[in-house]
């Protein structure tokens, strides 16, 4: 399958507010086609420079779009992370074992509410990392296509810039994800009976929740890594998920979310 199709599917699966924030791969591809369909141009000639500038300009706009969206989300995550931590602390202070109104039932009930929120929060952050990565991949793909079709040499220098864009620097989000994981582990320890519950049956995920989205992202990632028609030293090796059976067992029952 072509990258464009995979990206499109990924966009279809994404959270509603995110759809127009992905790379406009189709537009870019169209432009590359137009540029390469034109009569062969001398590198460094007038038309060539102009066409390339147009292409670069469109790419820059896309990058601005990513940065803007990414940083907005990141800002939001910073706030929500802090709020969640405080919320948990409040519950512990009030209903926890040493709380002012220590009560196991109340504690469990409140934590149950938080659990859903924190798992979803974790999911959103991971999906933003995925957003970052898929857009980077898209940029790399379109640049490769451009170089291949026009004989240009844009990819290498351009991608070096991309690597330093805010949208590609996911260190903070990654850190928050990890903190989130350790919070979950600390606050919701695995109960023995739960972990012993044998093998899972196939699970079907519907709707357009974060869960569904994550599964779709994993599957897409695997597909993209499964090989390119134009393998090069920039290509990534195929991805082997340690327990791909498990992932595969989670089926996305309908590509079109039912609202």
């Amino acid at each position: 399958m072509k990258f464009g199709k995979r990206l499109k599917r990924q966009i279809d699966e994404t959270l509603p507010g995110w759809r127009d924030k992905y790379l406009s791969y189709k537009e870019l591809k169209k432009l590359v086609r137009l540029i390469s369909a034109a009569p062969p141009m001398l590198s460094g000639s007038l038309e060539y420079g102009k066409a390339e500038a147009e292409f670069v300009c469109l790419l820059n706009n896309e990058i601005e779009k990513f940065n803007l969206f990414f940083m907005e989300q990141e800002e939001d995550f910073i706030i929500r992370h802090k709020e969640l931590q405080q919320r948990i602390q409040r519950v512990i202070d009030i209903w926890g074992p040493n709380g002012i109104r220590s009560s196991e039932t109340d504690y469990k009930e409140e934590m149950g509410k938080i659990r859903k929120d924190i798992v979803d929060f974790h999911g959103e952050m991971v999906l933003l990392e995925n957003y970052s990565n898929i857009n980077y991949t898209g940029l790399a793909k379109i640049l490769k296509k451009y170089d291949k079709r026009t004989g240009g040499l844009l990819r290498l220098p351009f991608i070096q810039k991309v690597l330093q864009q805010p949208f590609f620097t996911t260190d903070l989000v990654s850190k928050l994800v990890k903190e989130c994981e350790s919070t979950i582990d600390a606050v919701f320890p695995i109960v023995e009976e739960e972990s012993n519950r044998g093998e899972r049956e196939a699970v079907t995920v519907a709707g357009e929740g974060i869960f569904r989205n994550t599964v779709a992202a994993l599957l897409t990632m695997q597909e993209i890594r499964n090989g390119s028609s134009t393998y090069s030293h920039f290509s990534l090796p195929p991805l082997h998920l340690p327990d791909s059976d498990f992932i595969q067992s989670i089926q996305l029952n309908s590509p079109i979310p039912i609202l």
Partner: protein, 503 residues
């Protein structure tokens, strides 16, 4: 060379604008612009390098100008107000556009990396970043001239010229700041007035947008609406006298475009948990999220480079995040868990919900893990590509006789540089960007021949470290055995594609 006259005209144009006092002078000087610029336009490829240098010189000026948080905003005003009376001005900015926008990422790169402080970083990168979102509101005014002036422009989204418009205004602010230093005091005053005007307009827009997304309009609107109505009439009269010779029609242009300009025109910044901590402290000192005002928070935070815009939009987000879960914790909490998700997972008991969440978490963790691994791999691969390019340029400079020697030493330095990347990615990337900003301006012909030889000579050596690296990194990654042949083909492809360039 050709870029120089063009830019100096631009400068004088900007100067005129900054003096704005005489609108007669403005309109008489403008018609000169489009013709002269069109002359330079076809010669772009050559002039690009020059203009890059030129830009690099003006850009830092713009950076220095930003400490007055107002500067870029104000220039935005001047520009947009002038758009009311002269379309020629826009034409000029459009034809300059290629040079500007083309170089933008590179410039923003080198300057961004140079700054170690997160704050300064975001304040300049912001100037370049902001334009993108601009087009929503500005589209209408600009759509027509954009297509006219650039016949070869295919079917581009309308936002491209706008971006350049903004960038231009930011570079102008540098020019102005240096030239108008004496006037800075009353200029600042004026800026402040305009800024406050912006503020209200700005938040209105933002809040409307944010709220529409979040769909809890009512509580926000309650206190927003009175704010709009009280500030609007108060500021408008202040704005108008500042820009002389305005008809009523232009007034509307000014207000509408100023809100468009300033919203994204404010320097973007990247929030950090530390900064947010300081923010929360300030908010709490001021009596909580509902009572705290952006101005008060800004004063308490005392962070250099932070502007009222940043605080305002952050406070907005903070309120939304803080009060949404609180309100939904009660009755709407059950509603917020998507019905279809729950029912399809067939969850009836608490244990099953817990199990579902655990499963969700497991998948999310897996995705995170894989993304991290993939990212590291990608960074390494890119680093290697960059390294090869650098090696190659060195070889080109030192001559072919040294080629053999350096390629034999390739293996160890490449491993070294990979380690460096892991330890301090920013640092090594900084070097990359510095090296590249010079490189990209260089003649494509030499560059293409460079890469060709590069691939042919180093293709052999390169395989070894790459394989090693990826195996080290991730045990379950298997490096395709077809790699050597494929790469050889790639070399051929690079060679053949480079050939037309050489002829």
């Amino acid at each position: 060379m050709e870029a120089r006259p063009a830019l100096s005209i631009q400068r004088s144009g900007a100067k005129q604008l900054s003096n704005l006092g005489a609108s007669g002078a403005l309109s008489s000087s403008l018609p000169v612009l489009p013709t002269s610029l069109e002359e330079t336009y076809p010669k772009l490829p050559e002039s690009q390098q020059v203009s890059l240098e030129r830009e690099l010189m003006t850009r830092p000026l713009a950076m220095h100008a930003t400490p007055l948080p107002s500067s870029s905003g104000v220039v935005g005003h001047m520009f947009s107000s002038s758009s009311g009376f002269s379309t020629d001005l826009h034409y000029s900015s459009v034809s300059l556009h290629e040079k500007h926008s083309r170089k933008t990422p590179f410039i923003s790169q080198s300057s961004t990396n140079g700054a170690s402080l997160p704050l300064t970083h975001s304040s300049h990168s912001g100037m370049l970043q902001s334009p993108a979102s601009n087009h929503f509101t500005k589209e209408n005014n600009n759509a027509s001239w954009c297509t006219d002036s650039l016949p070869g422009f295919l079917d581009f989204p309308v936002n491209t010229p706008v971006q350049n418009n903004q960038i231009e205004s930011s570079s102008c602010s540098g020019v102005m700041a240096s030239e108008d230093f004496g006037k800075r005091n009353d200029w600042q005053e004026w800026a402040d007035q305009l800024i406050t005007d912006d503020d209200t307009l700005n938040t209105n827009w933002n809040e409307l947008l944010v709220d529409a997304n979040v769909s809890d309009l009512e509580p926000k609107m309650e206190y927003q609406v009175p704010k709009i109505s009280s500030n609007f009439p108060a500021h408008q009269p202040k704005v108008h006298p500042q820009i002389p010779a305005q008809s009523g029609e232009i007034c509307t242009v000014v207000t509408s475009s100023s809100s468009a300009n300033s919203a994204p025109g404010k320097p973007r910044m990247r929030w950090t948990p530390e900064l947010h901590e300081a923010f929360v402290d300030a908010v709490n000192k001021l009596g909580g999220g509902e009572r705290a005002t952006p101005k008060g928070v800004l004063k308490l935070m005392k962070v250099e480079g932070l502007t009222i815009y940043h605080v305002k939009s952050h406070l907005q987000k903070y309120r939304t995040a803080r009060y949404r879960p609180e309100s939904s914790e009660g009755s709407s909490e059950k509603k917020s868990t998507p019905m279809e998700e729950m029912s399809s997972l067939d969850l009836k008991t608490g244990i099953e919900i817990t199990e579902a969440l655990r499963l969700q978490m497991e998948v999310q963790k897996r995705l995170h893990e894989q993304l991290e691994i993939q990212r590291k791999l990608q960074l390494r691969i890119e680093e290697q590509g960059r390294y090869l390019q650098m090696m190659f340029e060195k070889q080109c400079n030192s001559g072919t006789d040294k080629l053999k020697a350096s390629s034999s030493t390739l293996e160890s330095p490449s491993a070294l540089s990979m380690d460096a990347l892991q330890n301090s990615p920013d640092k090594s990337e900084l070097e990359a960007s510095q090296a590249d900003s010079g490189k990209t301006g260089s003649d494509p012909v030499t560059a293409s021949s460079t890469l060709e030889i590069n691939l042919r000579n180093l293709g052999e050596k390169q395989k070894a470290p790459e394989t090693e690296a990826s195996e080290k990194l991730e045990p379950d990654v298997c490096v395709s055995s077809s790699q050597p042949t494929k790469r050889a083909r790639e070399d051929e492809a690079a060679k053949s594609s480079a050939e037309p360039a050489l002829n």
